[in-house]
């Protein structure tokens, strides 16, 4: 009896903490999202699901969702490919490179986004001089990809580091055995490295997808969601509705929708991670 209760007691503080800082705020947001609550007019009345009904027909929401999905898919794919390449290089290289490559990850996002905004600047920007045809932040099509570029630049080192750890966990004997059997480097990579790296890749994918889905700071500093809302992600839309417009009811509905998307993504990943390990 005691042996059974002990683990519960041990877990209780952590569970209580999680409840307090994660579950309660989510429930509160859901509760607010059922109201019309405009802060400045001190207006608050119960609406039921009508905020969600409006959300379903809200073009801006769907476009923000599409923007977020595109941002996440492209950024995470690029980060994984580049990160894997960097990790493979780092596996051979010395410590100084490992430290140096973390630099973009160490710079606060707001600062690096500001830096990139100047690189993209259509009058002075270095990138603009190198590729004069592209109006990085001013054209609705390019702006989102500019933001993706910044995100890839910043988080590739993080992915590389996770994958590097995965690479180093691959037992030496397996690699040697494969070599003895006459496997060429490419074959070795496909049949040995990649399958054994799978847990690390899935972990990096999980972290990055959930993170990229909530992207806020880089885009906020670069474009504030413009031009023409083409870089507006769910987080930016929710922030603007909450903090700029002060419409807490609908803003909370947007936050809850974002949360639901992230929850679905996270559960999906956990399933994949959990089954094969």
């Amino acid at each position: 009896m005691n042996a059974r209760r002990q683990p519960l007691i041990m877990v209780a503080p952590a569970a209580a903490l999680l409840c307090g800082v994660a579950l309660l705020p989510v429930l509160a947001a859901i509760w607010i999202s059922l109201h019309r609550s405009i802060l400045v007019f001190q207006e608050r009345r119960f609406l039921g699901l009508s905020n969600y009904q409006f959300l379903l027909g809200d073009e801006r929401f769907w476009s923000a969702l599409a923007t977020t999905a595109w941002f996440t898919a492209v950024a995470v794919a690029a980060e994984l490919i580049l990160g894997l390449w960097v990790a493979l290089l780092l596996q051979r290289g010395g410590g100084i490179f490992r430290a140096a490559i973390l630099l973009p990850w160490a710079i606060p996002t707001a600062v690096s986004a500001r830096l990139w905004a100047w690189l993209f600047n259509a009058d002075y920007g270095l990138l603009h001089r190198l590729v004069p045809g592209i109006d990085w932040l001013g054209s609705p099509r390019a702006a989102l990809h500019a933001a993706i570029l910044v995100d890839v630049w910043k988080t590739t080192p993080f992915v590389a580091l996770i994958l590097l750890a995965g690479l180093q966990a691959i037992p030496e004997e397996v690699v040697k055995a494969a070599r003895v059997d006459g496997a060429r480097p490419f074959r070795l990579f496909l049949s040995i490295t990649l399958p054994l790296l799978r847990p690390a890749i899935l972990l990096a994918l999980l972290f990055r997808t959930l993170d990229a889905f909530r992207v806020f700071d880089a885009i906020y500093v670069l474009t504030e969601g413009g031009p023409a809302n083409s870089t507006e992600t769910l987080s930016i839309y929710a922030f603007k509705t909450l903090m700029r417009s002060g419409d807490f009811g609908y803003g909370s509905a947007l936050s809850v929708a974002t949360f639901a998307c992230v929850l679905v993504l996270g559960l999906g990943f956990l399933r994949v991670l959990g089954t094969r390990r």
């Binding site: 007019f41 609705p140 969601g225 031009p227």
Partner: protein, 439 residues
């Protein structure tokens, strides 16, 4: 908060290991005393203790000493009242978020605060601003201050704030590249083209087309320039033919190459830098640009002129009104509120607004300051801006503006980026606004 945080009054900071030891007890004792004082003053303040009025405002830039001296004079005239000035972050959106969350929570730890002209109706309607009509009657307010600033400070015939200083959109031009300031849009384009031909690599007309509040200002100015009427008080009216013509004109500057595409990602500073580097003929911006382009070392120093914005007909164009008002926190307790009103009246006095103009290049909101001989002597640029400041127009004065501004920005951005026609974008924006007002 009735009492300063302990670290402000700790007698001296330890400088070495020895002093840490020797000061340790003193510091601890002081802390205990301060805690006690804080606890006591929460319950009952001694009658003769100075009343502390907290004043929150955005940074004025330049040297704070001049402003401090000025506040010190207030202390001299009002013994028993202490003013503590607290500076907010510069970003106006961030300042607004701070005020909204503080005031919503019923905060009474500040008494006087500076608000952007576009927040005033919203804050007033929310019941966060003390009604100042008894101290600053409407009639006097409208007689003494610039009309648009007085308008912004009022809601439904009551006074909720007092204008502190104003900002107005205007046109800068290169005196060495064009014969004179253009009066019409056609003239602006003709002058710019001629100059661009003579000096390849120079852009024609810079304005602010990034998706943010500055784009709204540029849009309203272009609409007024094409004859858009002021919306009736309390309304946001976007779907007029003139507003559409204005938006189409803004978009046209990009299509025709009069403005570079960099305009689409530019806020004030990006355009100011390009203009200051001599890379543009015309620039629409605020008065602060003048001090920068005329500063020693500026490549265009002495080559810049300013004028009202052009219009379709050639009448001097109206600039958008920006600027700040002083308001009193409705939650402030009665005793402090009286002192707060005195502070507002002191800070918006003729002398104070003159001081602000001389030391910080802020445009006075009081008409009479523009005729002050000292201003004419020491800051002729500001004195010369009077006609522009007097005819500046406010963005729609309605409690809904701050809520609607965001949707309007997105649609305007779509129009200037060429994603939607001007008419379609304005129609969509109007639907958002109407939906907001109805809901």
């Amino acid at each position: 908060m009735p009492c300063a945080p302990p670290n402000e009054q700790t007698p001296c900071l330890p400088t070495s290991r020895e002093t840490i030891c020797t000061h340790h007890t003193t510091v601890r004792a002081t802390c205990v005393l301060l805690l006690c004082a804080a606890a006591c003053s929460r319950t009952r303040a001694p009658a003769d203790a100075p009343l502390t009025v907290v004043f929150r405002h955005q940074p004025l830039w330049a040297d704070p000493a001049a402003f401090q001296t000025f506040l010190a004079r207030f202390h001299g005239e009002n013994p028993g009242v202490q003013v503590r000035a607290e500076t907010l972050p510069n970003g106006s959106d961030i300042a607004r978020e701070m005020f909204v969350s503080a005031l919503e929570g019923g905060a009474d730890d500040f008494d006087v605060f500076a608000i952007d002209v576009i927040w005033a109706p919203e804050f007033a309607r929310a019941g966060w601003l003390a009604d100042l009509s008894a101290f600053f009657p409407q009639q006097g307010l409208r007689a003494q201050f610039l009309p648009a600033a007085a308008e912004a400070a009022s809601l439904e015939g009551r006074t909720y704030a007092v204008p502190w200083f104003v900002d107005v959109g205007l046109l800068y031009y290169r005196k060495d590249l064009v014969p004179r300031a253009p009066r019409t849009y056609a003239e602006l384009e003709r002058f710019a083209r001629a100059a661009m031909e003579r000096q390849p690599g120079v852009a024609g007309f810079l304005w602010q087309g990034r998706q943010y509040e500055g784009l709204n200002c540029n849009f309203f100015e272009a609409g007024w320039g094409h004859g858009a009427p002021q919306a009736p008080e309390g309304k946001i009216l976007l779907t007029t033919a003139a507003a559409e013509a204005g938006l189409r004109w803004l978009r046209g500057t990009l299509d025709s190459g009069l403005s570079p595409r960099s305009v689409l990602s530019s806020a004030e500073e990006e355009t100011r830098r390009a203009f200051q580097d001599g890379r543009a003929v015309f620039l629409r911006n605020w008065p602060y640009v003048w001090a920068q382009v005329q500063a020693p070392g500026s490549p265009v120093r002495g080559k810049v002129g300013f004028a009202p914005l052009p219009t379709a007909t050639g009448e001097p164009g109206a600039g958008a009104l920006g600027g700040w008002l002083l308001a009193v926190n409705a939650h402030a307790p009665e005793a402090r509120r009286r002192a707060a009103v005195r502070l507002v009246s002191y800070l918006t006095s003729h002398a104070a607004e003159l001081e602000l103009a001389l030391h910080y290049s802020r445009l006075p909101a009081r008409r009479a300051v523009y005729d002050d001989p000292r201003l004419r002597e020491e800051a002729p640029f500001i004195a010369a801006l009077f006609p522009l400041a007097a005819t500046a127009l406010p963005r729609p004065v309605t409690p809904w503006y701050a809520l609607a501004g965001d949707d309007i920005q997105g649609e305007l951005s779509a129009a200037v980026a060429g994603l939607r026609s001007a008419g379609e974008a304005l129609g969509r924006a109007q639907r958002f606004v109407d939906h907001l007002e109805e809901r």
